[in-house]
């Protein structure tokens, strides 16, 4: 049986965010907003994570880190870009050290707008990510069945 019975685990990495989105992501996991009620657990380990939440844009130095974290995650996986910085580069787009949003390094599935993104919006993004994750897990399960 594939992953669908499992709760998706979440990995959060701060690209070059200003912290605004970062602490809002953390706030989502604490009692008032409580994203954990959707069966999500925040983990620090990419090898156990299914959903990758990234805040902030990508620069020269963190590009390899972001890519490596993404590659270490097992399939299927979903990437959520939180905040306009992670979507496009945001206010820092014109800075010399920002290459762009998270999608210049890794494929992004869900974009959560806002500066800072509100917890409600982040939770909305996470819920969408969970659905997408289930869908992908089911698909890969079918493929496994076909081969097997």
């Amino acid at each position: 049986m594939a992953n669908i019975t499992r709760s998706p685990w979440l990995l959060h990495y701060d690209g070059s965010s200003c912290n605004g989105c970062d602490i809002e992501v953390l706030a989502c996991l604490t009692p008032v907003y409580d994203a954990e009620r959707f069966g999500i657990i925040n983990t620090g380990d990419p090898m156990q994570a299914d959903i990758f939440l990234i805040t902030g844009g990508v620069n020269e130095q963190n590009m390899p880190v972001v890519k490596q974290l993404y590659e270490q995650m097992p399939e299927p996986k979903v990437v959520v870009a939180v905040g306009v910085c992670a979507c496009t580069g945001g206010v820092f787009k014109d800075c010399y050290n920002i290459i762009g949003g998270a999608d210049v390094a890794i494929p992004v599935d869900i974009y959560v707008p806002g500066c800072a993104a509100r917890p409600q919006a982040i939770i909305d993004g996470i819920v969408k990510a969970v659905a997408l994750f289930q869908e992908r897990a089911q698909k890969s399960e079918k493929e496994v069945d076909k081969v097997g």
Binding site: D14, S16, C18, I23, A27, F92, A116
Partner: protein, 360 residues
């Protein structure tokens, strides 16, 4: 004598909300040396002076750091106001003080939560963040945003806090004070908390002065420096004493920050008491700035410098920020020497690192 080896710490690490990388040289579980490497969050924010004019820059500066966003905006605006030599209306100065202290409360509560998380006390972490949400609700009520609320502008503030809202603030901080008293007991008296914090990461006042540490780090080692006593915004009309402890360890840093939340509550009460009833919200600004100014202010993490230089054009010539974490990193590296690997997480958290400020 064991063999030396190097353990990498970060940039992505469970106790770290932000990327900083340390190479820890260890010998038998004891740290011999810590070598920091930074640059993961560098954006090049100061270079935006070429592309944004001095008014637009307020919004960029606020995004130096999402936690002390308001105070960054305030530091920048006061600098430019001094160059223009305009007097900020008294009500605006008091409003700035109120917002600045609210953001100090939210920052310190956030830190207390992260500390609790670092020593594995999940419940306490949640309690701190639950209380913090009340402060964020006040931000939202008064300014419309939760963490980045852009109410500063060169000359004053954009929004007013009316009487009803001031009353809500007073009621809410009363609640917060009550709940904080309960959790502060755990921080100060709990056996397991003390065993993780007491006597760990000692920094003597001499080391603090030599390494130039600032803010709660310095105050926890008996060095009483608090830039608020310089009297920017409306602090000159407010009566307060810096919170100082002489224990020099992690426990002292925790004590200082938690007592500062109570102090902020007191400052907000004084400010609401003294705030003038009817006043303008902002002074009129004409033309472009010409000249330079340098200002120091006390952010939740310590002293920050702002330097602005302008030559009569809409775009500034230079804008420079030095943030408190930058001043505290040498102290952190000194503190890490001769400690256990297991304490690294806590030690890093007790300087309250804000990497995105540091690297901008």
């Amino acid at each position: 004598m064991g063999k030396r080896s190097v353990i990498p710490f970060g940039p992505q690490h469970p106790v770290l909300p932000e990327p900083i990388h340390l190479d820890l040289v260890v010998e038998d579980e004891k740290i011999v040396e810590a070598i920091p490497s930074i640059g993961f969050v560098h954006r090049g924010l100061e270079s935006l002076i070429d592309k944004r004019d001095f008014n637009q820059l307020t919004y960029v500066v606020e995004r130096t750091c999402g936690i002390c966003s308001f105070q960054h905006g305030m530091g920048y605006c006061e600098c430019v106001e001094h160059i223009f030599d305009v007097e900020v209306p008294r009500r605006a100065r008091f409003l700035r003080t109120i917002w600045a202290e609210l953001s100090r409360m939210h920052s310190h509560l956030l830190w207390a939560g992260l500390l609790a998380d670092a020593f594995g006390y999940e419940n306490l972490f949640y309690q701190c963040w639950r209380i913090r949400e009340k402060v964020l609700d006040l931000h939202e009520l008064t300014a419309g945003g939760r963490v980045i609320f852009s109410v500063n502008k060169v000359g004053g503030v954009i929004k007013d806090i009316d009487e009803d809202k001031l009353k809500v603030i007073l009621d809410t901080i009363k609640d917060i004070e009550k709940e904080l008293k309960v959790i502060s007991k755990t921080f100060f008296k709990d056996y397991s908390v003390q065993s993780r914090l007491k006597g760990v990461g000692i920094l003597t006042p001499e080391q603090i002065n030599a390494l130039g540490a600032v803010g709660p780090m310095a105050r926890a080692s008996g060095v009483s420096n608090d830039m608020r006593s310089l009297g920017y915004a409306a602090y000159d009309e407010i009566d307060f004493e810096p919170v100082v402890s002489n224990d020099c360890d992690c426990y002292a840093r925790c004590y200082v920050r938690i007592m500062e939340i109570f102090q902020s509550i007191d400052i907000i009460r004084q400010a609401i008491d003294k705030i003038p009833k009817e006043d303008e919200l902002a002074a009129v600004i004409k033309g472009n700035p010409n000249g330079e100014y340098f200002m120091r202010l006390e952010q939740p993490r310590g002293e920050a410098f702002y330097y602005v230089k302008a030559n009569g054009k809409p775009n500034l010539q230079r804008m420079r920020v030095r943030t408190p974490t930058f001043a505290n990193v040498p102290a952190l590296c000194e503190m890490l020497k001769n400690t256990e690997v297991a304490d690294v997480g806590i030690l890093v958290v007790t300087i309250d690192p804000c990497i995105s400020c540091t690297e901008r």
